[in-house]
Every structure is written in structure tokens, then in C-alpha cells.
Amino acid sequence: MFQFNLSRVALLALEERETPDVDPGELPADLWDVIGTGGDQFRDWFTRLCLYMVLSGGDPSRPRTDDTVVIGTEYGNAAAVAGLQRAAAEQGRRLSAQAFPQAHSSSASAFVNLTIGATGRSITVNAAQLTPVLSLWQVLSAFAHGRSGAGHLLVGDVYSAEALADARHDETGLRHRSGVAYGVLTAGDEFTARFEFASDEKDVEGTEGTEGREHVGGHTWTSDDGDGRSPAAIGGDQPVERNGAFVTAEFLRLVLGLRPGRSAVLRCRGLDGRRATVTVSRKGGSDG
């Protein structure tokens, strides 16, 4: 059982496009003011969105902290990685040494740490469809061990052309929309979180079959201590997103809005049958 407080939730969603890493569509008007343009030609859109999320509304004069940074993503900085390969082929000896630091699988988290001066634990997690739950686990574990007073949770993807092709190749029936969710969590006891990990073993073992596949992806709802379920909170008839940003933001908003004693549930199920569930309860209420 983990404890925490939640102070901020945000979601930045991009329009659905074939090459969002090249043409992301409409963007926040203050994007460049917030993240700056220095060295920007080497960033990809995933890093840009992560930086925008942590810098928007943040205090730029804030001193260095021991904050934890956890980024949950399936494709992360794949666009910059591919871009470096193309740039080397096109530019040869003119290839800038500034491109390489932006072209790692964890570049976004590195530049988030650097930009906000966070010296605590920093991790980029890929657990496919279970990424939202496992990423949250990492933030809360840091609190439980007394290692950080605050945690920045970023979950999402900005699909490059290669990432879109890769994601669609799985034929999950999931929607592929780019976006990043952001939550600021702090050490405290307003909420408790209980995690469960389970599996549909036939799928994990690779046995053929599509039973239960309609539940692949993330789902969230509020409950009365597990007795009830509010279908209206799941998202109605909207297609389930592969990108964990959307369900993460929805879940964190449910958590923020919980009445005392009530709970919110985030359940994610992978294509391989693995499941991860986190139930967050707000303290107080008749059951304490």
C-alpha cells in the first residue's frame, strides 16, 4: 500500500495524423515561449511535449530538487533515433554532435531532469499497455522509500511514421493518437494506492485465441470500495487508445475528484494477457 498526494493533472493531445512527429497539427500557442528554441532542431516532438508539460505552470526559479521523474512510453524518442540515422546519411561530416544526446530511448526524461533541476530517481518505463500502472508504481515507490518529496509522472507517445506502423502491425483495434499526460504527485497521505498484477495465462503463454481481447488497453472508473462500477466514467463508446496518456489523465482526474472514502480504479490489460490494476482511495469517509 502506497500513500501520496496529487496536486496537478494535465493532458496535451495532438490531432490524429499520419506523421505527428513531422506535422503535429495545432499546438499550444505558448509552446515555444515555454520550452524555448535553443537546440530545438535536435529535439523530437515527444521531448518537446514532455518539456512543455513540466514547464507549463511551473516555477522556473525553483531551485534544484530531489524530485523523481518517471516517463512511461512505448515509443519514446524513436523519432529522434531514426532522425539521427537519416541525418548521418544526409549530412555526413556536417552531422552535429548535439543530435546524439536527443536520440536515446531516455532522452526526454534526461532533458526533463536537466530542465527542471530534478536530481532524484529518473526512469523511462515501457510496459506496453501496462505502462500507466507500472509508471505510477515507480513514482509511488520513491515516496515509500523516502527518496523524493515530489514526482513528475509523464505518460504518452508521439507516434512517428515508424512507430505508427509498428503499433498498427499488432492489429489490436486500438486507436493511435499522440499525446502526453502529466501528473504532479507529492509525498503525503491524502490518497492510498493498492496495486495488483495478474494475467490471463493462456495469452501470456502465447496460446492462440482472442478471448478478452476487447479489453486490451487501459480502462478507468470509480467505485464504491470495489462494490460498484460507474460505466459512465469509462469513456462511453470512445475507442480505446493504445497511447496510455489518455487513460492516465482520465484516471488522475478521477482521483483528484474523489470524495472522501471513495476509490478510483485504473486497469490495464496487455496484448499478451498481462494485467495491472491500481486502486486509489481518498482518505476519510464513513469507512475511514
Binding site: R64, V69, E74, G76, A78, V81, A82, L84, Q85, R86, A88, A89, G92, R94, L95, S96, A97, A99, F100, P101, H104, S105, S106, S107, S109, A110, F111, N113, L114, A118, T119, G120, R121, S122, I123, T124, V125, N126, A127, A128, L130, T131, L134, W137, S141, H145, E162, A165, D166, H169, D170, F195, F197, S199, E201, V204, E205, D272, G273, R274
Partner: protein, 401 residues
């Protein structure tokens, strides 16, 4: 008090070959197997040295991995699955063993399926031909290979990835998620990395010489190291663990995209000691990150000289190269072997060229009969620092065996 976590199985594939034994033999002999890379683009100089997993070892690994992985072999998955299967066998387990059913699977990697993405971008293969490049499939493949239905995930922390994976697994075991973890790191040869390091002029025609005043270049390498971690209650009766994993400290410099920061690295050392209640003098041996770069070795060496004057230091990248995201795993496997054998493999440099005032083990392996604690350092671009500390495997639970 934290639950005690033990290392019960080791698996390795490296330029030394497939298996822990060739790895250890090469380390103790300080035998490197570096070869020249073919330039990948117009800006890359000829004669750059690197280390590759030999063809025979690749074939041996390919024969062991699952049919799905064999059908579209991506090097990272082949390496990781092979090392994982070797590790569980070493732990006395078989795929599907009850002890593995809900095991945590956590793999650290920097480049993931670099070969798949690079083939796709270069037009050498279509997506179906590559097998896909989402790094998650590395953990999924390992989990399937060992028969785990528990949580499986990949972590990316550049060259600190494996030690961060160890940290994640350690915390999940201590929180009661499972009693077993299959954890480590892998990375395969990456064109992107070669291009990137070349653009930084960090790789070149002379071999990695850690802590030498003549050091100049990093020597990139590839492979995987996987270990089986078990809670004390799950350690099988009659089997002596290699080591106890005491702690893993993780922090970030938040200072520079590529250059290490002395205060950040020193802070990670302090955190590691604080987390497990040890003092610097309790650390007998350090497997340094020791990349052979000017910046890293200067910072690490200064910390060792000032804070750990009694520790024997060794740096294995002069022998097997820099396994990138798997570097911490290679160091962790070597740390456990050192604890088991009470032996420290040498650094592949001459004693006369050691620059800083540290007790760098050179020449022959050094016996340390009373070896208690071994520290394994892994740092990476982006300011990532992760330090694991292993202890000799003295189990109170053995009374119950």
C-alpha cells in the same frame, strides 16, 4: 527491516562468448576481442574499435531461444532470452517452474531493438521483416521464455539502464509483488550509437584503457547479463546464493546532456551507502563504470581516491568493451562472481599507466579472501547514475534448510 534479496542465478552473453564461464575467463585474463568497425557514414573515421558477440555464440544463443524469437531474430531479444534461460538454469529452475510463474521481469536497455528500427529506416527490411521495434517485446520475450506471467517491463536509462532495472526489481520484490525476479540488461550493436559516439569523437582506433593516463576512447560492445533474484524465503534449500543484493541507488545529475557531474556522481555514492547502512570502508571492491573516457574516469577516480582509499578497483570495459545499457548487468554478474570466488579480475591496463591514486587491480586477478561487499557502478548520458551494492551471501535462513 527490508526483506533480504539474494542472487541465485547468473546468465551472460558477451564478446567473450555465450555463458558466464567464458566471460569470467576473459575478465581474469584481461583478454579483449576488439575489432575494427566499417565506417557507417562519411563523417566516421576508419579503424574504430568495437567488440561484438562472436558468431558462434550468437548461433548457440539462437538455438536456445523461443521459436518466435528465432523466426525473426532481433539481437537484443536473442541476447536477453539466452541470458535469462541460462540464469534460471543456473538457479536450478526450468521454464515454467512454479517459482517463476509470477516473477517480475525487468530488462534495462538503451538501444532496445536498434537493429529492427535501423533496418526499417534504411529500407533494408519492412516492418514485418524486422519483427517490430517496441522495446517491450524484449521483456515480453524473456517472460515467455522463462514462463513468467508476472509484471514485465523495460527500463531505459542509457548506460545506467541495467542497474536501474536491478533497482526496480529489488523494490518490487521487497514490496511483495513477487518472490522472484529475472532482471538485467541487454544491448546489441547499434548503428545509431556508433554514429553518435563518432560525432562526439568518443570512439576511435585505440582500445578503452580505464583510468590510464593514456586513455582516450570508449570501445562500444554488446551482449546481455541477466540474474535471478529471490527473496530469502524463496531461496531453495541447499543452494548457496552468489550474493545478496543490498541496495541500488539511482539519481540524476540534472547538469549536462553528456558530461558527468562530479557532485551528482558523488551523491549517488552517498545514497548507496546510506540506503544499506554501510560506510565507505565497508566496500572492499568496486567494479567501476570506467569507460576509458577522460571525463568519467577523472570523476570516478577522484571519488574513489578520496572516499574509498581501501577499496580495490577494477574496470572491465578494457576487456569486454562498453555494453551500453547492459554494462551495469555485466558489472553485476562480475560482482557476484567476484563474491563467490573471492577474486577480483584485473583492469586491462599496465600498473605504470594508472593516472589517479587508486588501488586499481592490474596484471593478475587479485584474491580477496575476506571479501564482504562489492559495489557496481553504472552511469550514463543524460546524467543517469545507478550504483548497486552486493554483499557476501551469508543467510540466516540456511539454518532452516
Amino acid at each position: 527491516m527490508d526483506e533480504r534479496i539474494f542472487v541465485t542465478g547468473l546468465g551472460m552473453i558477451s564478446p567473450a562468448g555465450a555463458g558466464v564461464t567464458p566471460f569470467w575467463v576473459d575478465l581474469c585474463a584481461a583478454r579483449s576481442r576488439f575489432e575494427e568497425l566499417t565506417p557507417l557514414y562519411a563523417g566516421m573515421k576508419p579503424g574504430v574499435l568495437a567488440a561484438r558477440v562472436p558468431r558462434g555464440a550468437r548461433m548457440a544463443a539462437l538455438e536456445r531461444v523461443s521459436a518466435a524469437t528465432r523466426a525473426r531474430p532481433r539481437a537484443a531479444s536473442v541476447f536477453a532470452e539466452y541470458a535469462a534461460l541460462a540464469a534460471i538454469a543456473d538457479a536450478g529452475m526450468v521454464p515454467g517452474d512454479p517459482g517463476l510463474r509470477n516473477a517480475v521481469v525487468c530488462v534495462g536497455t538503451n538501444d532496445g531493438h536498434a537493429d529492427a528500427l535501423e533496418n526499417l529506416v534504411a529500407g533494408r527490411k519492412d516492418l514485418a521483416g524486422t519483427g517490430g521495434f517496441s522495446s517491450y517485446s524484449i521483456a515480453e520475450g524473456v517472460a515467455r521464455a522463462v514462463g513468467s506471467t508476472g509484471p514485465a517491463f523495460v527500463v531505459h536509462n542509457t548506460c545506467a539502464s541495467s542497474n536501474v532495472a536491478l533497482s526496480c526489481a529489488l523494490e518490487m520484490l521487497r514490496s511483495g509483488v513477487a518472490d522472484t525476479a529475472v532482471v538485467g540488461g541487454c544491448d546489441s550493436y547499434s548503428e545509431k550509437n556508433t554514429i553518435g559516439f563518432s560525432s562526439l569523437q568518443a570512439i576511435g582506433p585505440t582500445a578503452c584503457r580505464p583510468f590510464s593516463r593514456n586513455r582516450r576512447y570508449v570501445t562500444p560492445s554488446e551482449g546481455a547479463g541477466i540474474m535471478v533474484l529471490r527473496t530469502e524465503r524463496a531461496v531453495a534449500a541447499g543452494r548457496a546464493p552468489y550474493a545478496e543484493l543490498l541496495t541500488v541507488a539511482v539519481n540524476n545529475d540534472a547538469s549536462h546532456p553528456t558530461a558527468p557531474n562530479s557532485e551528482g556522481v558523488a551523491d549517488c555514492h552517498r545514497r548507496a551507502l546510506d540506503q544499506c547502512g554501510l560506510k565507505a570502508d565497508d566496500i572492499d571492491v568496486i567494479f567501476a563504470h570506467g569507460t576509458g573516457s577522460r571525463a568519467n574516469d577523472s570523476i570516478e577516480g577522484a571519488i574513489f581516491a578520496e572516499t574509498y582509499p581501501h577499496a580495490a578497483v577494477t574496470a572491465i570495459k578494457g576487456t569486454i568493451g562498453h555494453l551500453m545499457g547492459a554494462a551495469g548487468a555485466a558489472g553485476a554478474v562480475a560482482s557476484c562472481l567476484a563474491l563467490e570466488k573471492r577474486l577480483v579480475p584485473p583492469t586491462a591496463v599496465g600498473a605504470e599507466e594508472v593516472e589517479v591514486g587508486i588501488d586499481l587491480v592490474t596484471g593478475a586477478p587479485r584474491a580477496v579472501p575476506r571479501l564482504r561487499h562489492v559495489q557496481n557502478n553504472a552511469f550514463g548520458f543524460g546524467g543517469y547514475n545507478a550504483i548497486a551494492i552486493f554483499g557476501a551471501a551469508t543467510r540466516e535462513a540456511s539454518d532452516d534448510d
